[in-house]
Amino acid sequence: MTSTDVLWALKIVYTIYAFSIISFVGWFAYRITKKPESYKTWLTPKVFYTYLAILVMIGVGIHILTYNKIPWVAWELKRHKIKPDRVFNITVENHQFILPEETPITIKCGEVVKFNVVSRDLTYGFGLFRPDNTMVFQMQVVPGHNNELLWQFHEEGTFYVLSTEYSGPKGARMKVPDAFKVVCNKNVSMGVGK
């Protein structure tokens, strides 16, 4: 599952939810002004507790679902045990990204890559974006700390880097065009940390 798939699913699911809840409140607003045929109600404490149980299941279930379906959650939680194939040490200073190699840096599909980004002054963000501006991933870059992110690319393309955190007006356009190029070879195995 790539980030594109996840975001597409979110768009569909949330749109359906939004229209459902708007319809429900609309229906409620209409019905509430009408005299009921009977004052006997199905809204008992039992219904209330069932509703609460459903909320708990949704609240917890969403995280269980994403852990099992979104691969980078496991990468994140197991990153101390996963040995990366390549490490990119990146520095940010004076509103500029300093990359370790000349751009575009080529990455092979399926390679486990660790981005270690440090800031020498302010809080920044480190995000990778596709040419159509959709996001591949991002993280915060907190000064005084190593900000490490593990990623495995499954899609071919050239990606640009953008600071995803505001660092003052000077940082409004912190961008490295064509920073990384991912090249896919069909024989590469997938599934980091499994």
């Binding site: 996840v6 609240g59 995280h63 994140e76 302010l122 809080t123 490490e148 505001y166 356009r173």
Partner: protein
């Protein structure tokens, strides 16, 4: 009557301010100033919406981000805080049937908060001071980008707002606990048990054990419990923000007098944790708890019934106390040095409880209304339903982004700003406040005014609802497609979403203009000015007697 006369004198003679008690007047002052600041925030928002469609040549990056810094402070502290504080300054004595502890403190509160908000706005307007509301360390003390004077004015402004907040809290607690002259002294313990919702929890436990309820008639009504509970979080939040302000001030002097302390001596991650712990108490303490309390109050006033599952609601407010103190880490899910256990426990799992506490308030309020059918679709009811819908949309959007997997793609995007907090604040919170304004207007004006136009009230409702949801939806969709929330796009990258978002933003602004016109036409400018004149009625009076009688009638 022509429009000029109408606006000056109001509908049917407008507001008779001479009959208003000091408490009514001070409450209306809070609300009037809060509504004006809402308009300022809406205009600022609209400028930013236009800039996101196509950068405005006259607006430099410095000015754009200065607006972005002032916008939430004017909107939250200048508008929402003032309206909420005004409403609660009135409701606590009104519901407890005893005078407010101090009218002077109440007047001090709105005055100092207004001054503070104006100062913050000026720090952006004059000096383009723009660390944004998150003031991530060490950005607020980066004087290679910002003018020191801007920083000083900003910090003083925020400090004044927080001092006003503390004054409101003192007044609220004092009103709850003090005994007015001639009344029987109430013991503190049951009041405290009730204020924290502990009596509700004990009632449930006793019911399970087959025992008599701990408190058949709790000493504090449920809305008071919610106000008290929310105020605990507001207090802690004010302390944290004040401390952050002192730190910034210290480094300003450090810079001015060359004390030689490097800003890296403050750990940026620790600072971020403490700051978010405090700031999130606004979202969870103020917004969720105050709103839940207001929903309960509105539902009870609209239906004239007790609340469905009242003990659960009381106990849930106690649960929210624990939840709201432990959820801040959902703001740091994309901070890689943040310990994973904090991300999982605080950021994901405890945060998920907000779905439960808010979902519970949603269910209880709707059921209370449902059981009282048929109800007249009054302004207060329709705005209350709008507010409920706003949170039903915004809270799940927040829960989605408070997930390790989703946050990797949604953090700092327009999804957070649009689908989550703008829908929560503009639709959820603001519509709830409009509902409260409509229901309190007759009580606060001694029934002396008649709404100028119901048609305009309907226009206000629909434009606000559609504009608020629409803007949030289009911003949210842009966020899903990768649009960041604190970035200037110059090449029309997200034009497809930003144009409809801008149209919806214009609807919101138009809704406010219509509402203000309708209210001014109702009250009259003379009446509005009269609100700011001293009252001749005794300060012990909550609502003058004839109005109370009329209200009951």
């Amino acid at each position: 009557m022509n429009i000029k006369e109408l606006l000056i004198n109001g509908n049917n003679g407008g507001l008779d301010h001479s009959g208003l008690s000091p408490l009514q007047k001070v409450t209306l002052r809070f609300v009037v100033i809060g509504l004006i600041f809402y308009g300022v925030a809406a205009i600022e928002g609209m400028i930013m919406r236009v800039h996101e469609i196509k950068p405005v040549p006259l607006l430099s990056d410095e000015h754009f981000f200065a607006i972005m810094t002032a916008h939430p402070i004017v909107g939250i502290f200048g508008s929402t805080y003032l309206i909420v504080f005004g409403a609660f300054t009135f409701l606590v004595p009104y519901l407890m049937k005893k005078p407010v502890f101090s009218i002077k403190i109440a007047n001090f509160t709105w005055g100092i908060m207004t001054l503070g908000t104006v100062l913050v706005w000026l720090s952006g307007f004059i000096y383009h001071y723009a660390p944004l509301y998150t003031i991530y360390w060490p950005l607020p003390v980066d004087f290679s980008q910002f003018h020191i004077a801007g920083g000083i004015i900003f910090v003083i402004g925020v400090a004044l707002i927080m001092i006003g907040t503390l004054a409101f809290i003192v007044n609220t607690y004092a009103t709850v606990f003090y005994t007015p002259k001639g009344q029987k002294k109430q013991p503190i313990k049951p009041l405290l048990m009730s204020a924290f919702g502990i009596d509700g929890l004990l009632n449930i436990i006793n019911k399970i054990r087959g025992k008599e309820p701990y408190a058949k008639e709790p000493p504090l009504s449920l809305p008071i419990v919610a106000i008290f509970r929310g105020t605990v979080d507001t207090f802690l939040d004010a302390l944290v923000i004040l401390t952050a302000g002192l730190l910034i001030l210290f480094f300003i002097f450090n810079n001015l007098f060359q004390w030689g302390l490097h800003y890296h001596s403050v750990d940026a991650l620790l600072y971020k944790n403490i700051f978010w712990w405090g700031l999130d108490l606004i979202a969870d303490g103020l917004v969720l708890i105050y709103v839940a309390g207001t929903w309960y109050l509105l539902a009870m006033l609209i239906t004239g019934r007790n609340l469905f599952m009242q003990n659960i609601a009381r106990a849930a407010l106690l649960l929210e106390l624990i939840v709201s103190w432990a959820v801040w880490s959902h703001h740091l899910l994309s901070d890689q040095p943040q310990p994973e256990i904090m991300k999982l426990a605080s950021g994901e799992m405890i945060t998920a409880f907000e779905l439960i506490t808010q979902g519970l308030a949603f269910f209880i309020t709707l059921t209370t209304l449902w059981l009282a059918r048929p109800l007249k679709m009054s302004n207060e009811l329709k705005f209350l339903l709008g507010g409920l819908l706003g949170f039903a949309l915004a809270v799940p959007a927040g829960i989605i982004q408070a997930d390790l997997g989703m946050n990797r793609l949604l953090h700092n995007t327009q999804w957070v700003a649009g689908a989550h907090f703008h829908v929560a604040i503009l639709v959820g919170l603001t519509m709830t406040l409009y509902s409260a304004i409509y229901i309190l207007l007759p009580i606060l004006t001694n029934n002396s005014v008649k709404l100028f136009s119901q048609r305009l009230a309907n226009w206000h409702f629909w434009l606000h609802l559609i504009g608020g949801i629409g803007m949030g939806a289009f911003m949210g969709m842009a966020g899903i497609d990768g649009m960041l929330r604190r970035h200037v796009y110059t090449e029309g990258e997200f034009m497809l979403y930003m144009i409809p978002a801008g149209i919806c933003g214009a609807m919101l602004l138009a809704a406010w203009v219509i509402f203000m016109f309708n209210i001014i036409a109702t009250i009259g400018i003379k009446g509005l000015i009269g609100i700011f004149k001293p009252s001749k009625i005794d300060k012990e009076v909550i609502v003058p007697q004839p109005a109370t009688a009329m209200q009951k009638g």
